[in-house]
Symmetry: C2
Subunit: 356 residues, 2 copies
């Protein structure tokens, strides 16, 4: 059966001052379309019934998500005791799903992405699910790049090999976020796709690949599997996660696995990774300004202003982000919006808990 | 007798969002030392008794100044019915002073300047007052420049001519705000002083010079003089001002008068003309940031942040002004802080009266 596993453990510090411990990125309505988590659920809803929709997160975030979306079922949350990056979270999910459905096919989705063309997205997921349902293939969804973006990882596909199925290719290599020069080469080659972080595979296959490439992690997961639905489950999970190092599924498994295929998608995907990306996604006026709330632009271009009732007036300012969260305001150049994390770190260091 | 005439008619639109119709620049405490008007009064207080301290302004501003400084005497306000720049305001003051004291010597002072060394300032005023008290000299105070500033007018002094008195020079020319190249020449020549806009002269002498160089304005002033202390005074003043064009005393009189002398001052003067100047005058931390209120700087330098309780966080921003007035926030590059007026114009045009 097809299951969705939404990865929703993060805070999204790059979206401070709107993102807070109490209000993580996936619960923000950054684009005026509803929260990113709701959008993610809505996108998969026609493919996967409610009983097969899982969310991986921690206890604290679970409570906040249930407050925000009361229809979420408590028994479909998979709780990480500690954040250990994607490989342990996915492994834990696979263990849980296998106990419930030995034939489980998992669609692993970040909670905080945006997609323009939902029908094409669903088609790509279906293609991937059909491809893996009866095989040992690990499938990813790769996006045809629309620009030489340096903020994403890339997947090189193997054009010469026979396609595993129509719309999919065997993967030659994974490449980390490139510098601009490399990104341009990737973009122009036509052989590279953006790595969306969306994966589709059988739960038993991914566990087997974790056993192969991350044996230490696999033995921890086996311990958890043995304690499932016993009074020791929480304690064992806690103990195993505490002892494991964090590692991403890309780095830990995908780059080493022998049979990895990518379904090529063109559905207008974004990971909504920074305020700059929000500026790109929002409607801009004739001066390139994306404005919300009470904003006044004088000789100012290509800015993102998320204001409230209080007027925010810019004079002679170009390419900046201004976000007013009521109790805190961020001002940052658009091109440096990846650095917003640094504010959160500085606030933590200086004990400004009130705005974290 | 020595009289002070404080010019206090303006709003100081360049200090929006702190300056408002209800709260003009001279009533702001921009530097944490008290309001600029109070500072101006305090500086002259030991030289000029309260009964000889006059303020030129309009009806509306008079009320606000009295609210802010209750000790100001209503009968020492000289009211312009309409703003017509400095020549008519000074002419009106001379007419009023002469009716009160035929030997009046006027010290004309902008309400909104800052001075570091008050004793030296007082010495310069006394030098000027002594020089003009019994002569037809128009005296100005000129400041030894500390940098090639393009925001000030300059006065060229005549080094060859015999000095009118110790500490003073005859003036060769007045120069408007120069471009940077010219400002550098002025600065390096040693012959140029900054024009402070502080003037000292006998009331009868300035009126005579207005008669000479601005005859139309003078005949208007004569009409006002004839109506002083009659029931027609306000109506005549209104009528005369309505019919006159605005003109500055520098352009209308000083540049043409035959006997103009400048007293050279070195008392750390600033006209506090822009937010950039406020940044320059305030204490800066080791990164060049001048911060008030709740501000957090991450990799950000040489900024002026006037925050309140709400946190203002900058990341990777250099050389900007951020002013939070509660209901409105300004963000502007320091070097463009002269353009803040443009916000006020845009707000007027768009009917944002709430924040004007």
């Amino acid at each position: 059966m097809l299951h969705s596993v939404i990865m929703a453990g993060g805070i999204g510090a790059r979206f401070w001052p709107l993102s807070r411990r109490q209000k993580p990125k996936q619960l923000l309505d950054l684009l005026g379309e509803g929260t990113l988590l709701e959008q993610t659920i809505t996108r998969i809803a026609p493919l996967i019934p409610e009983t097969e929709r899982w969310i991986v997160t921690n206890q604290e975030q679970m409570r906040r998500m249930q407050d925000a979306i009361p229809s979420l079922r408590a028994d479909r949350f998979i709780l990480e005791p500690i954040g250990r990056n994607t490989a342990p979270a996915i492994g834990l999910s696979a263990v849980r799903l296998l106990a419930y459905d030995p034939d489980a096919v998992m669609v692993v989705l970040p909670a905080d992405h945006r997609i323009d063309h939902i029908d094409e997205f669903r088609t790509a997921l279906t293609t991937a699910a059909n491809m893996v349902s009866d095989s040992d293939i690990l499938a990813t969804i790769g996006m045809t790049p629309s620009r030489p973006e340096t903020g994403y990882g890339y997947i090189q596909l193997d054009r010469k090999a026979k396609q595993p199925t129509s719309g999919a290719y065997w993967v030659k290599t994974f490449a980390e976020k490139p510098n601009l020069q490399t990104a341009k080469l990737f973009f122009e080659s036509g052989e590279f796709l953006w790595n969306s972080g969306i994966f589709v595979w059988r739960a038993d296959v991914i566990l087997q690949q974790i056993a192969e490439h991350l044996p230490q992690w696999h033995s921890g997961l086996q311990k958890i599997a043995g304690a499932l639905d016993t009074p020791e489950e929480a304690a064992v999970t806690q103990q195993v996660f505490a002892a494991l190092k964090g590692i991403s599924i890309d780095y830990g498994v995908m780059e080493h696995a022998p049979r990895v295929a990518v379904v090529k998608g063109e559905f207008g995907w974004s990971d909504v990774g920074s305020w700059d990306e929000v500026w790109r996604l929002l409607a801009q006026d004739e001066n390139g300004n994306a404005l919300r709330g009470n904003a006044l632009m004088v000789k100012s271009r290509r800015n993102l202003i998320l204001a409230q009732n209080r007027l925010i007036a810019l004079v002679d300012m170009d390419d900046v982000i201004v976000v007013d969260a009521g109790d805190a305001i961020l001002i940052c150049p658009r091109e440096k919006s990846q650095d917003v994390r640094a504010v959160v770190e500085a606030l933590e260091k200086n004990g400004h808990d009130r705005v974290l």
